[in-house]
């Protein structure tokens, strides 16, 4: 993997070089984005990369994306290399897996600002005054997906499906369990007594297994599946197309991906639960530029802050009865008002 990864990295850097050079002339600060994986997942990391690109355009920051690959043993050294280089006053990185690593590295580099999205450091147990963490209340998005899926399943308009909805997750990790906790609660509230199937693929990049699981759930009678499975979820979307059922995407607007290449597939994607990582990162960088970034603490972002939301998919929206759409809108309003608290998978009731 090393040589090709290096080649890829060089290519990425070559692509970004002109921007970097321009920025160096203007002396604008450089932002490093460390990906603990690879871009191209059509959801989480790609969304973050969009945020960085936006920051480059709007805030005139020079950004550089470094893909650490899927080998976890290389992430810590990758992070240390970036912090140690002194080239980057800000390092952006994400996921709960990176939390402990940032916690370990950040105290050694007090001059570097770390922006940690979708992950937290334990401020009580580390001198992390240079770390800003953002966590997302993805359970709120999951809840809306549950209301939508269960409402549609109960409406009985999906041929061949029973009173059943499904969830395909990549791995039973806290963030995905949090989506699932919200999803289950939303489904039960919208259609009490409905069956919620749940299954994990044990991989973020095995669409074949994702498809196998989805076919099993659709075969069992699930009308809608919420996939929270990274690239594995593409198999779920294919299964939805083949069986004529529905799927809810995650993290990025997944219907938009297929609109040009496969409209039939796009029409099966009811909506996507958006984790607007891009907007959140842009906001954090803007705050940093203005000197108002609340370092040394964690901010929790959800529906209310616009960090979580549902994507519009006009092709599929027609199949959702108006009553179900109204129920989703009402649930959204109640969560924003604070009259509805969505259960979470995180200990202490908070992510």
């Amino acid at each position: 993997m090393r040589a090709p990864a290096l080649a890829l990295m060089l290519m990425v850097m070559a692509g970004l070089a002109p921007a970097g050079a321009r920025a160096a002339e203007g002396g604008s600060p450089r932002v490093a984005f460390f990906v603990n994986g690879a871009l191209g997942d059509k959801s989480f990391f790609d969304s973050a990369a969009r945020g960085l690109r936006q920051a480059e355009a709007d805030l005139h920051l020079a950004t550089r994306t470094i893909e650490g690959g899927y080998d976890p043993t290389r992430w810590e050294s990758g992070l240390v290399d970036l912090a140690d280089s002194g080239d980057f006053p800000i390092i952006v990185t994400g996921t709960y897996t990176m939390g402990p690593l940032v916690q370990k590295v950040a105290p050694d580099y007090p001059d570097v600002t770390f922006i940690l999205f979708d992950g937290v450091v334990d401020y009580a147990h580390c001198a992390c005054g240079n770390v800003y963490s953002m966590r997302f209340r993805q359970n709120e998005g999951g809840y809306l997906a549950g209301v939508l899926a269960a409402g549609l399943a109960r409406a009985g308009t999906i041929p061949g499906a029973g009173e059943m909805v499904g969830l395909v997750g990549a791995m039973p990790i806290p963030v995905i369990n949090d989506f699932a906790a919200g999803y289950g609660a939303g489904a039960q509230d919208a259609a009490p007594g409905i069956t919620v199937l749940r299954q994990f693929a044990n991989s973020f990049s095995d669409p074949a297994t994702g498809k196998e699981i989805a076919e099993a759930q659709y075969g069992q009678g699930a009308g809608v599946i919420f996939q929270v499975a990274g690239a594995t979820g593409q198999g779920v979307i294919e299964a939805a197309e083949e069986t004529g059922r529905y799927v809810i995407g995650v993290d990025s607007d997944q219907a938009a991906l297929y609109r040009a290449s496969s409209p039939r597939r796009a029409a099966r994607i009811l909506t996507s639960v958006m984790k607007n990582v891009d907007a959140a990162i842009l906001r954090a960088l803007r705050l940093w530029q203005q000197g108002r970034l609340p370092l040394g603490r964690t901010e929790s972002l959800g529906l209310k802050e616009g960090a979580i939301g549902l994507a519009d998919n006009p092709e599929a929206a027609l199949t959702v009865p108006p009553t179900v759409r109204a129920a989703v809108a009402a649930a959204r309003q109640r969560i924003i008002d604070g009259t509805l608290t969505v259960p979470t998978a995180f200990a202490g009731g908070q992510p």
Binding site: M1, R2, A3, P4, A5, A7, L8, M11, A38, L39, G40, D41, K42, D46, P172, L197, R198, Q199, F200, N202, S203, S205, D206, P207, A208, T209, K211, E212, I213, E215, A216, Q217, G219, Q220, A231, Q234, G235, E238, E242, T243, L257, Y258, A260, S261, S262
Partner: protein, 333 residues
Amino acid sequence: MSLDLIAAGTVAAVVAAATLRAATPIIFASLGGLVSELAGCINVALEGVMLVAAFAGVITSAYSALWFPDAPLWLHPWLGCAAGLLAGTALAGLLAVFHLELGADLIVAGIGLNILAQGLTVLLMAHLTGDKGSTASLTSFALPSLRWPGMGGVPVLGVLLNGDGNAGHNVLVYGALAATGWVAWALRHTVFGLRLRAAGENAEAALAAGLPVRRLRYAGLLLSGLLTSGGGVFLGMGYLTLFQADMAAGRGYLALAAVFLGGRRPLGTVAAALVFGGATVMAARLGLLAVPAEVVFMIPPLVTIAALVLVKQHQRLAARRRAAAGRAALLSS
């Protein structure tokens, strides 16, 4: 037949059809692994061959539609299939050159090619589509499915023959079955099969008998590449209709395990591949019964270990029985 029996039969047929589907890529790759192993050249690069074949197939089918917009639609997937088979075979050919011409260690060269395939497919994909994850932005094509007509109403058999969606099985599922039969027959009943095995069993003796060992090993590795490519093409143009970085997801290594689990025999190898496919399907379906995910994840590796132990145990018992029979024969004489 009572209703319960029909329901149970239908479930069994659904699982059997899914198992066949999940096992097809492993069957192809394990047959490929078997052929080269019998020729005396273990092919560790099965995983890489699958990836390259899947990639070339998906990309070619998508670009074929762009290049030849006037061509009939059925042409694109078959062009993709041909390109996939060719690309995978070429990668196996590279392994053959490294080993047979340049004297590289098979294991090291094989692993190297796997790593090359992993990186190269992503590099080319990023170059062609600007996307490093999958080819979702391209309209690629799947090979057709074959459907038995008039089976829609038949209870259990209809599901078994045409799948649970009644859309039929992909043509490559039948391809895997045909390849199994062909490999089993060719290895046993043709001059080429016999010579191939001779070159693998004892190269010096084969050379002394005037057999072109090097050419036979080339043939073994190239044939291995061709068969394995079938699995890769199925992954990208049958099982799924896209290429995803690293989509082989270890199936090539499972196939290699199947070769040895199956005692280096065609039917045993395919049976082992079916067991692996079945374990995946079982894992995918057990979630419906609220079995904890951790337990489900353990099934495929547990099945592998259990099967290995059982096979070894069986062989040891058989050996002991033979030895005992031999002693008895000695004593009685």
